[in-house]
């Protein structure tokens, strides 16, 4: 065994491995979005699914972005016909509960779906801790450049879009983004 040669050969593939590692952190399907860093467009949407105490809002209430200034907002677009939304449902619902009492606000936005279907879906999935709102005509979805569901937007305390996650989110991403946005807001 010639160790010097072995080492040199092995070194050759390191850049390739680094490239793949980098690739894993990217989503090739992600459409470059002009939105992150920009002000989030305002919305005022009606609650159809109240959520559970202590996060509950009465159905028919209006959730306005303007009212949420100073808080980190997690805006999750979903639909009852979307299968990947099932994957993230439990995680989102649970994580939202963990942030009760902190300046963080979770909102579900129903995309291209009937509120009745949405309510039924939430029931089937065993409830959702935070309220969901309807988005008639997908106006808000279009303002946010929604590409498909699920998609989750993280807005900082100044109402700017800090990050956009396409596809189901995992707990690590939510915690990382929410915690860092809260830390920035606290400064």
């Amino acid at each position: 065994m010639n160790w010097k040669r072995a080492g040199i050969a092995a070194l050759c593939v390191v850049p390739l491995i680094i490239l793949f590692g980098y690739g894993l952190t990217r989503d090739p399907k992600e459409i470059p979005s002009p939105l992150p860093g920009h002000d989030a467009s305002p919305f005022a949407l009606t609650v159809f699914a109240p959520g559970q105490a202590p996060l509950a809002r009465a159905p028919g209430d209006t959730v306005k972005l303007a009212d949420l200034k100073g808080q980190v907002v997690v805006l999750n677009f979903w639909a009852s016909w979307c299968l990947s939304c099932r994957d993230e449902h439990q995680i989102l619902s649970q994580t939202a509960l963990d942030y009760v009492g902190k300046p963080v606000h979770f909102v579900g936005v129903l995309y291209n779906d009937e509120p009745a279907n949405g309510t039924k879906w939430i029931e089937q999935m065993g409830g959702q801790s935070y309220p969901s709102v309807t988005d008639p005509g997908a106006r808000t979805a279009i303002d946010y450049g929604l590409y498909g569901v699920p998609e989750t937007y993280f807005l900082d305390a100044n109402g700017r879009i800090a990050y956009k996650a396409t596809g189901p989110v995992n707990e690590r991403i939510i915690r990382y983004l929410v915690d860092s946005l809260m830390a920035v807001a606290a400064k």
């Binding site: 050759c12 399907k29 470059p32 002009p34 009852s80 979307c82 450049g145 929604l146 590409y147 498909g148």
Partner: protein, 160 residues
């Protein structure tokens, strides 16, 4: 995965080694250069309407993949001339797209699309390929849009 030059030259002829190495370097170099040249000319950039407009004149007449959403109310399809026009928007800017051929059956307002083609000086994007962005995991939205109901007339007509 390098060719060991000792495999292609006799083991004894160590004098020939530098020549062999040089040959390998030249071959690999020329090949790499060809690859680079090929890539340079044939890479298609992926842009949103805003990014494409920001490119100014350098954005004209180069292959581009334009990504965004179909702007509601802009879709026009003439099934006689097979001309399809619509606007693609990213929420900031819009670009008018012109395409030939039938729109995919589920093409509709607000749909995410990727359009491949070139942006003309007349500020119309000439599409050569239209890809609907969708996941196969999605159920059809809205009760009214279930295919069974959408094509009810046809399905009834067959007496099935």
């Amino acid at each position: 995965m390098n060719i060991d030059e000792s495999a292609v030259t006799p083991a004894k002829a160590t004098k020939r080694r530098p020549i062999a190495i040089a040959a390998v370097v030249v071959v690999v170099g020329v090949f790499g250069w060809l690859l680079y040249g090929g890539l340079d000319k044939n890479v298609v950039f992926f842009l949103t309407p805003q990014e494409l407009l920001a490119k100014g004149t350098s954005g004209y007449d180069v292959p581009v993949r334009l990504g965004g959403q179909v702007k509601p109310g802009t879709v026009k399809w003439d099934d006689k001339t097979l001309r399809l026009t619509f606007d693609v928007t990213d929420g900031q800017s819009d670009i008018a797209v012109q395409s030939s051929g039938a729109p995919p059956q589920m093409f509709r307002d607000g749909q995410g699309v990727v359009v491949e083609g070139r942006f003309g000086r007349d500020h119309v994007f000439n599409s050569t390929g239209l890809m609907i962005k969708h996941s196969n995991e999605y159920r059809p939205p809205k009760a009214g849009e279930k295919p069974q109901e959408m094509y009810k007339t046809l399905i009834k007509g067959s007496g099935a």
